[in-house]
Structure formats: structure tokens, C-alpha cells
């Protein structure tokens, strides 16, 4: 079976500075991969690289929630599927949302527990609610590979686990950047650790333990 994501000796960076060095990574369809590492290690750059190379099969949850503050939660979630409808239909939905779209969006909002905020202005939401809106947008987008950059950082551990479970059920392949070791061990099949822009560890979760991963995060709060 062809891999969902393949990076072959890839280097990348931004503003002229190289952040990723010689990354080789292959992710099979159906895998749940947690990308871990200290802040500044290159996790976001790696996820953005994957997104840019596989734009047409990736649903993205960016690190800042990236919502339009002046639009409702409904419209922000609907933005995940703008490419599936005609421009005319999109404009109509902006002014007068069709019942079918409201039902579809309500359904994904129920999954993240935000259905009562359907027509609230996104700018009025709390940080955690904004993050769940961003998650709902990715679910509605529905592309097979989910790339989430710290998708649950603003949620408590119980909520975070629940959201990760829902995302796992809706998307075929999952790639998350996570900073919480226990959460990563619990909700992924494989952990890829980055340090200084290089992969220093890439093993299935079954062979890993909290104690073994902890030294990589020395000095950071766990």
C-alpha cells in the first residue's frame, strides 16, 4: 500500500533560516502519529511542510485557531468546505445559511460539544471554544489526512482526550504535534521526536514509556 505521507531527505525553513534538516519520514494510511519535541524544535515547520506538499489530502488545524472573529461559529466551520460548493452557493450561505448546511455544521459542533454556540460570534468565544471551532472546521473539511498543530493545547486533559478520539474516528491518517507525553502515548500509535530540526527518535508507542521520553523534555513543564 502506498504511504499517505512521504518526505525524502527534506530540508525546510522560513525567512531564509533553515529549521528542518534532512528529514526522511513515511506515514502509512491509518496511522496515528504524534510529533513531539521542545518548543522551537521544528514541529510547526514539519507540519507546514507536510500541509504544503499534500494540500489536497490534508485537513489542517493550525496552531493559532485562525478564525475570522467577526463571523459566526457556523460560518467559521463552514469555511472548511468552501471548495465543495459553487461561489454563488457560498455567498448565499454567508447571508442566509441553508438548513442542510446548518444541520451538517451542528452535527460536527455536537461532536466537539459546541452546538449551543452555533451562531455566536467567533471573537466572543474563549480560547478553548475557539480551538474546538477550529477542530470542527477540520472535521467538516473531511480530508483523509488530519494535520493538527497542538490541536488541543487550550483544553483540559479530559476534553483533549475526547477531541483526539473524535478526530481519530473521522479521519483516516492523523498527524498531531503534541507536547503532553501521556496524551501522546495514549492517543497515538507512533511517536516522532524532533530536536534541533532533526528526527532523533521514531518508534511505535508500544515500545515507549513516559520515563524514556521525559529526558527529551528536560526543563519543560510536563
Amino acid at each position: 500500500m502506498a504511504a499517505a505521507i512521504t518526505l525524502d531527505h527534506v530540508s525546510a525553513g522560513y525567512n531564509g533560516a533553515l529549521v528542518l534538516h534532512d528529514i526522511t519520514l513515511s506515514i502509512e494510511p491509518g496511522e496515528r502519529v504524534a510529533i513531539m519535541g521542545r518548543s522551537g524544535a521544528g514541529k510547526s515547520t514539519l507540519l507546514n511542510t507536510i500541509y504544503r506538499r499534500y494540500t489536497h489530502s490534508v485537513a489542517l488545524i493550525p496552531q493559532p485557531s485562525a478564525l475570522v472573529a467577526n463571523l459566526s461559529v457556523f460560518h467559521n466551520v463552514f469555511m472548511g468546505c468552501l471548495d465543495r460548493h459553487s461561489t454563488l452557493y457560498n455567498l448565499r450561505t454567508l447571508v442566509w445559511p441553508p438548513a442542510a448546511e446548518i444541520a451538517a455544521v451542528t452535527q460536527v459542533l455536537e461532536a466537539v460539544g459546541l452546538e449551543e454556540k452555533l451562531f455566536a460570534r467567533a471573537g466572543e468565544l474563549s480560547g478553548g471554544q475557539q480551538q474546538r471551532t477550529s477542530v470542527a472546521r477540520a472535521i467538516l473539511n473531511g480530508r483523509p489526512v488530519l494535520v493538527g498543530d497542538e490541536p488541543v493545547s487550550a483544553l483540559d486533559r479530559v476534553q483533549a482526550g475526547e477531541v483526539l478520539r473524535i478526530l481519530s474516528a473521522r479521519h483516516e491518517t492523523k498527524i498531531f504535534a503534541l507536547h503532553d507525553i501521556r496524551l501522546a502515548l495514549e492517543h497515538s500509535d507512533r511517536i516522532v521526536l524532533i530536536e534541533g530540526g532533526r528526527i532523533v527518535l521514531d518508534e511505535p508507542c508500544g515500545q515507549l514509556s513516559y520515563q524514556r521520553l521525559l529526558p527529551y523534555f528536560e526543563g519543560e513543564l510536563q
Binding site: L60, P62, P64, A66, N70, F78, M79, L82, D83, L94
Partner: protein
């Protein structure tokens, strides 16, 4: 990074000194006399008139048309400007068109348009819409450029351009666009009032004859009516009322007389009038040398001296406006005048800035007789009031320690040094506006560029007027570029400069002085 060069580095102090020196050097060349025989007596009659306004004299029609022209002109300019703003950073041509449109004053546009559409509503609306298109295009493009793009970046790749715009761009800057457009309506009304002075049927038309005949009580009533309209703008001009305002304005427009000849005028204007005289149906071999001689004659005898006079007026008025702003800003600050005092000060400055400078210059010229002095007073009052108002508001927002000094000590050791970078940013931004207005004052008889434009148009030498206008446009673009350069070198280019940007600077109160190293520390 150290910049190699002969010139010393530009600081707040050296920039101020240079502008002061230029202004003082210009004074001997400026005619500052008062030639009216009894200016005091006339001024007394003016004050008497203001104190007993004759409301019966208000011609409702001209008030309505003042608003209608402004509403339609701003709506048209705003719509066109929004369209241009979308492609502003993609096409150099669009940027050039926008820059040319806004570098020509609405009064000059009106004088030109009259050659084609006569004294009609079309002239009034287009004279506002054309320069405002240029202004809106630039300002909206800045809004889009500064807008948060994170939501747009996450959209599915195949989203159509229009859906992308409607969902992820317009909602992000919609509030800013709305606030700015509605604020512009206020400027539009000042502009349409002034258009009356060249013959269009707005308030200015009545005001001109009242001022000329010394009917100050009637003029005062009309002006009071104008101030009320401006003062209540937030009540009647809102997003929800815009459709009604536009439709209503369309319904009340004055009937156009002689509309049938518009196309013929248009053909004549572009086919004959605006073509330089030496190029019109000449078949001999000297066409281009004749053209060169024609262009040189106008440049040497009109553009040259006109530019010098325009700059003399602008530089003196700029410094006078700056001095006035520094003197006036405590008037609108609660910290200096207390609660009631600052309301009074604010009302005074809002009324002053609502007074169109062209009208003020016209009135002062009537009172004091022809010289540059009335123009300097008008320009410095208007611009000084705007800058003073903005500075005063900011002075109240500065974080102060609990045992900060008060009164004069606070002024000299606290607020003024901290706000000085912001003050220079405002003043340098208004430099180009003052220059444009200085050129226009030529229509009132001063020998600035507008004098030559007005003379050429009244002699129906449209080709000459067009060349002069290119000169005006180039001059104002040069000053605009120089102002930008100075603001960058003084590291004050990121500070807010627009009157309508007030709400934004309030929102970003936590870091209002980013980019101005001298101003970064709060008052301590």
C-alpha cells in the same frame, strides 16, 4: 545600521529645526500684509452676525444637495476604491492611477468636469468620487495588507477567489472599512460645501454671496446648520441607513440642464481642448519644437513661480499648524483642563476642524484683504485643530505614575516629550494635504499654482490647465514621498496618522508606540 553620508542623522530635534528654518526663510518672500481699510469694523460685524444667526435665510435645497452630492460621491468613490484596493498590490498601473486621482484636489476636478458636464449634479458627484477613489483605494489596500490572514491561509486550496474574499478577507477588515467610509462622508460634506464656491448649488454657493455682501447673520445660520449635520453624522449615517441615504440622494438630485450636449462636450474636450495647442492640426515640420517651446513657456512662467509660492505658503502654514497643535492639545486633555474644560476644548476644536479651510480662507480674505496671511491662518487653524485634538486624546491615554507632575511640568517634562514622535508623524502626514490646499488657494487670488490653473480654465486654455495640473500632481507626489522618507528615517512610520484611525489606536492601547524608540517609555 549606520548610514554613511555627509548629512547628520535625522533626529526629532534636527527635523524640527530644518522645518523651522525653511519656514522662517520663506517669511520674507511671503506677502503678510493686511490691506483692508477697516478690518476691525468688518470683524465686529462678523461677530455680530454670528451672535444673531438668521435662520429664515437657510435654503433647504442647497443643504440637501450638499448632503446628496457627498453621499453619492463618497459611495461611488468608496465602491470604486474597494475594487481597486483588491488588485492594488498586483498592478503598478492601479497604484499610479490611484495616486494621480488623489493628487488632484476636488476643486480642480470640478473646474475640469464643468467643461464637460457643466454646472450639474454629475460634476458635483464626480468631483468628489474621482479623488476619493484614489484615497479609498490606497487606504483600503492598507487595511487588507495589515489584516490578519491566518483564517485565509487555512481555507481549502481550491476555494474560489470570491468565496475566499467574502469569507476570510472582507469580514476581517469590514469594520475598519465601514468606520473609515462613514468618516469620509464628513470630509465629503466639507468638500461639497466648498464646491459651491465655484458655482455648484451647495451651501457654499449661498455662503459665497452672503460673505461677499457682508450678510453674516445669514451665513452664520447656514454654517450652524452645517455643523449640526456634521456633529450628528454618527446618528444619521450608519451602515443601516446607507441604502436609504443613497436612494434618497438619487431622488433629490437637481435636474440637469443642457444634458444633451454632454457627449458633444466630451468629444470636444478630449478631441480638441485638452490636446496641447501646438499639436492641434499642425502639418508643418515645427510641431514638436513648437510643443517644446509651449511646454517650456508654461513651466518657466507659470509652474515655476506657482510652485515657489505654493511651497512658501505650505511651509509657513505647516509650521504654524504645528505650533498651534502643541499649544492647543492640552485643551482637549482631561489631565490638563479637567472634565468640563476638556469637553469645551474638544467642542471648540471639532468645530474648528469641521470648518472647511477654503471657506475660512475666503472669509478671512474678505475681512483682511488679499495677502498670504488669511491663507496661513486658515490652514494652520484647520490642521492645528485636527492634530491638537488627536494629541490631546492620546495625552489622556498615556500611562502616568501616581506622583506624576501636573500642569506646566507635566506638559514640558511628560506628555510633550513622549508625544513628540507622534506629533511629527501627524504633521508630516498632513504636509501633503496642506500643500494640496495651498495650491488650491490660488483660486482665491494668491499666486500659488491654483491661480494659474483657474486663469487658464477661465480663458478656456484647457491644455495649459492640464499641464499645470500635472505639475500640481507631481509636486504633491514629491512631498508625499519626502514625507514618507522622513517618517521612515525618524522611525515614526508605524504610528497612526489618520483622524479615523483613532478607534484603532485605542484598541491597540497596549502598544501604541511601537517603532518609536524615543516614545517607548511611559511617562515616569
Amino acid at each position: 545600521m549606520k548610514r554613511p553620508g555627509i548629512l547628520p542623522a535625522l533626529t526629532y530635534r534636527s527635523a524640527t529645526l530644518i522645518f523651522l528654518l525653511v519656514a522662517f526663510a520663506a517669511i520674507p518672500f511671503a506677502d503678510l500684509g493686511v490691506s483692508a481699510l477697516h478690518p476691525g469694523a468688518e470683524f465686529g460685524r462678523l461677530v455680530g452676525g454670528i451672535l444673531s444667526p438668521a435662520f429664515a435665510a437657510i435654503e433647504v435645497r442647497s443643504v440637501i444637495w450638499t448632503v446628496a452630492f457627498a453621499v453619492l460621491g463618497v459611495a461611488l468613490g468608496g465602491t470604486a476604491g474597494l475594487v481597486l484596493a483588491l488588485v492594488f498590490d498586483r498592478f503598478r498601473t492601479v497604484r499610479l492611477v490611484a495616486a494621480s486621482l488623489r493628487s488632484v484636489h476636488e476643486l480642480f476636478w470640478a473646474l475640469f468636469l464643468m467643461q464637460i458636464t457643466g454646472l450639474s449634479a454629475t460634476t458635483g458627484i464626480l468631483a468628489i468620487a474621482l479623488p476619493y477613489t484614489g484615497i479609498f483605494a490606497k487606504v483600503f489596500a492598507e487595511f487588507f495588507e495589515e489584516a490578519d490572514r491566518s483564517a485565509e491561509n487555512v481555507l481549502p486550496r481550491d476555494t474560489s477567489a470570491l468565496s475566499r474574499f467574502a469569507f476570510a478577507r472582507l469580514p476581517v477588515v469590514g469594520q475598519q472599512i465601514k468606520t473609515y467610509s462613514l468618516y469620509r462622508l464628513e470630509c465629503g460634506m466639507r468638500s461639497t460645501l466648498v464646491l459651491g464656491f465655484v458655482g455648484l448649488p451647495t451651501i457654499g454657493f449661498n455662503l459665497e454671496s452672503y460673505f461677499k455682501e457682508g450678510h453674516y447673520a445669514e451665513a452664520a445660520a447656514l454654517l450652524l446648520c452645517f455643523y449640526v449635520l456634521i456633529g450628528t453624522r454618527r446618528l444619521w449615517a450608519r451602515a443601516a441607513t446607507v441604502p436609504f441615504l443613497v436612494i434618497g440622494s438619487l431622488l433629490v438630485l437637481p435636474e440637469t440642464t443642457g444634458n444633451s450636449s454632454t457627449w458633444r462636450n466630451l468629444a470636444r474636450f478630449f478631441g480638441h481642448d485638452i490636446i496641447p495647442a501646438p499639436l492641434r492640426n499642425s502639418r508643418d515640420g515645427h510641431t514638436w519644437s513648437n510643443f517644446g517651446e509651449w511646454a517650456w513657456r508654461i513651466t518657466a512662467h507659470q509652474i515655476g513661480p506657482g510652485t515657489v509660492q505654493t511651497l512658501i505658503l505650505a511651509q509657513i502654514a505647516l509650521v504654524a499648524a504645528g505650533v498651534l497643535a502643541l499649544l492647543l492639545y492640552p485643551m482637549v486633555a482631561r489631565r490638563f483642563l479637567g472634565r468640563f474644560g476638556h469637553y469645551l476644548g474638544r467642542a471648540t476644536l471639532v468645530i474648528t476642524r469641521s470648518t472647511p479651510e477654503y471657506m475660512l480662507a475666503y472669509l478671512l480674505l474678505q475681512l483682511m484683504g488679499p495677502s498670504m496671511l488669511p491663507a496661513i491662518i486658515a490652514l494652520s487653524l484647520h490642521n492645528g485643530a485636527i492634530i491638537g485634538y488627536l494629541l490631546g486624546r492620546q495625552a489622556d491615554q498615556l500611562p502616568l505614575r501616581a506622583d506624576a507632575p501636573t500642569g506646566a511640568n507635566l506638559y514640558f517634562y511628560g506628555t510633550t516629550p513622549v508625544l513628540y514622535g507622534q506629533f511629527l508623524a501627524y504633521l508630516l502626514y498632513r504636509w501633503e494635504l496642506i500643500l494640496r490646499e495651498s495650491a488650491i488657494f490660488g483660486i482665491l487670488g494668491l499666486k500659488t499654482l491654483g491661480y494659474y490653473v483657474d486663469a487658464a480654465i477661465s480663458e478656456l486654455r484647457i491644455d495649459t490647465a492640464a499641464l499645470l495640473l500635472i505639475g500640481v500632481a507631481l509636486l504633491s507626489m514629491c512631498v508625499d514621498a519626502l514625507s514618507r522618507n522622513l517618517r521612515r528615517r525618524l522611525r515614526i512610520e508605524t504610528l497612526p496618522v489618520r483622524l479615523s484611525a483613532e478607534h484603532r489606536s485605542n484598541a491597540a492601547r497596549s502598544a501604541p508606540y511601537a517603532g518609536a524608540p524615543q516614545a517607548q517609555q511611559p511617562v515616569v
